[in-house]
Assembly symmetry: C2
Homo-oligomer: 418 residues x 2
């Protein structure tokens, strides 16, 4: 497959971009190359790298808005867990499809997922054409989350042919996975050359309990058991000491800031970006699941994430637009080890077009600032992942069908749980 | 003029709504009424009251993204003031037009404005069809902001015929308007039956300076000079003592929460919503100007405003979806004394339709929660103000023309200021 993008605005200049297979082959002026598909931006569409969502639970779109304004404990016990207990592979498949549809519509071309019934998530993402790292979840209390099951799942998935899906090992958290199982999980990840993705230090309570149990703070504990390295992606990392940040830097871990979810669940703290930056820790961005956000729009996350840092440090200079854009693009690519996040010849063709006719880009003094602070997901007009057009002029194939099916799935799920 | 809305979803049920002139005349099932205009929602569009933006500086859309990530002081002195010094009525007219276009597109049907060259703002808003309260600005250092000029402006504006525009007296702040002029302004407002709209307690510095100058905190000072009553609308009110909140409650003032702007300018504090609520103060929502936000999308403001309160109080139960929706609708109507903010027979026909086909409303467990936390301005498909259709299926008349004109205006302005 080949694709040519004509007259798109790249860094303020009109350009043509030629894509062959899944790769950006040529960027230039008035390229005279034939391609099977064409999109003409007519100088009214800007091009950006597709955004990368480094922490989500895609299938949880099924629970969007189900149980609002509750304590975390009540919400989990009364609302989410009863539904999750009844969840089938079909449910996860359709929930992930809806998530992918929303990501396509809002400019995300790659996501890092953690949920179970992983095969269903992987198949759904592959079909939708959205690049994903699907976590093989390790969770002590979940039958499907124990060692044998994880090994079994890995074997099943190895036999399938996926083009744009890879896998990670995803222990849920230090309070739901034993020390032994964490060590096993990292070992398993190393042997299979997989990323290691987990929740860390989301709440102060988690830190206190860890100190009680292991006499160490969470990151100190993870360092001690040897699971931290450049293939480790840690979500949340809100409650950290300076010492812990230095450990993360030394081990070259990536961390994922989830501003909306952290506020919504009232975790109390704000991600310590300034210190992360001072220590050159690789900072990425995530939406968390739609149940605690409640959408998967990384544009919102960029805005709220930037604003919140200015507030935290009482300094409007913190988290400038270039840095914030990197959180959602190149830093995410670095964390997930994919050759994307930047528009350059030789990079993967994971690209989005922005409709400059929206008022949010008027008068247009500073495009990047308009992207972070003014536009939002619905400003995206076209999405391309792995060289394939997933959305053209705001339209995605079969979108109505997905939404109708998800409605039925969600209604059924509630009935089953009652 | 008459208008019928067929098959729109109101509080989860299919309804028809008949509008005559500027008023909601009849709400019912399968209404068999003839009307000059018709919109069929086909049960795929939900209806809501138009949102009310209680604090903005509309014409500042001209400066969107001009000077980003700077200290307030640098930004004003190096960027904004040099431009504002060159501002003409034509500039303000087009800047306000762009703001109105953006409000129409994102579901705001009424706004409370503070800027100068007020006649240009009023004419632009009236032409665009967006209801507005335009502040006659009082500002000691501005020639156009002194007593005589304000009286003159009032006389000029009285002679014009406006249908959907009314006026307020808007002293900028206690640090830019003398005590004498504040007293005069309130007196002038009372005599002319106008609202009184000003900035109060946005920063801690403002509070400290007020204490130094007047030996009182800002709200105590305003109470002492007698300017607080039910016709007073105070923007920001971030830094307040408990005593000040009680004064605001006693005087039945309205206050305007501007979450994005407060974070972006790093004012340090967070609007004390919980205490405001406990004291029954009327809480409204504002975007502030596009230069410090950087858009006029009240949906974003609802989401960020709600999230921020959960964070502030470390309690996810604070600011539930119903309360937050009231900030942006009925509470705003109360503050601005307009008969809107609610869908009811006899109310003004200021209404918006939401496109339920967006993924943000899928699966659709809780519509209000989807509105606050998942959807955003671009979910609005149709806007009606004062019974007139301003947007139909995402399209507004002459929108391209406005954006092209604004681009030229903004470029010229920068040239003039250099």
């Amino acid at each position: 497959m080949s694709l040519i993008l004509k007259n798109v605005v790249l860094d303020g200049e009109k350009k043509d971009i030629y894509i062959e297979g899944n790769e950006i082959k040529k960027i230039g002026n008035n390229l005279n190359l034939k391609a099977e598909e064409k999109i003409d931006g007519k100088e009214e569409k800007a091009i950006l790298p597709g955004l990368i969502n480094c922490h989500t639970h895609a299938a949880m779109t099924l629970f969007r808005g189900y149980g609002e304004d509750m304590t975390l404990n009540d919400w989990l016990k009364k609302k989410i867990w009863p539904l999750e207990a009844k969840l089938t592979e079909e449910d996860v498949y359709w929930g992930t499809k809806l998530a992918c549809l929303e990501m396509i519509k809002t400019g995300t071309t790659c996501f890092n997922d953690m949920y179970w019934l992983e095969e269903a998530s992987a198949i759904a993402s592959e079909e939708m054409g959205v690049r994903a790292v699907i976590g093989l979840t390790v969770l002590d209390f979940l039958k499907a989350g124990n060692k044998e099951k994880v090994e079994e799942k890995r074997d099943i998935l190895k036999k399938r042919k996926f083009n744009i899906i890879k896998f990670s090992v995803s222990p849920h958290a230090i309070y739901t996975v034993s020390k032994e199982n964490l060590i096993w999980a990292k070992d398993f990840a190393k042997k299979n050359n997989l990323l290691f993705h987990m929740h860390v230090s989301e709440t102060e309570e988690e830190v206190k309990n860890c100190q009680k149990r292991y006499k160490l703070r969470p990151v100190e504990f993870l360092e001690k058991i040897g699971v931290l390295d450049e293939n480790t992606v840690l979500a949340h990392t809100v409650w950290l000491s300076d010492k812990e940040i230095k450990i993360l830097a030394k081990r070259k871990c990536s961390v994922v800031y989830n501003p909306c979810s952290n506020l919504k669940l009232a975790v109390g703290g704000i991600f310590p970006y300034k210190k992360m930056k001072e220590n050159n820790v690789n900072v990425c961005l995530g939406t968390d699941g739609a149940a605690s956000n409640n959408n998967l729009d990384l544009f919102e996350e960029m805005k709220i994430g930037a604003l919140l840092q200015k507030h935290r440090e009482k300094n409007p200079l913190i988290a400038n637009v270039k840095e914030v854009f990197n959180w959602a693009t190149i830093n995410g690519a670095r964390a997930l080890k994919i050759n994307a996040g930047k528009i350059k010849e030789g990079k993967l063709a994971d690209l989005i077009l922005i409709d400059l006719k929206k008022t949010f880009f008027s008068p247009g003094h500073n495009f990047l600032s308009d992207i972070i602070y003014s536009g939002s997901g619905p400003s995206v007009s076209d999405s391309i992942c792995n060289g394939r057009i997933l959305m053209r002029d705001g339209k995605v194939e079969r979108e109505r069908e997905i939404m109708k099916r998800v409605k039925k799935i969600a209604e059924n799920l509630i009935k089953k749980a009652k």
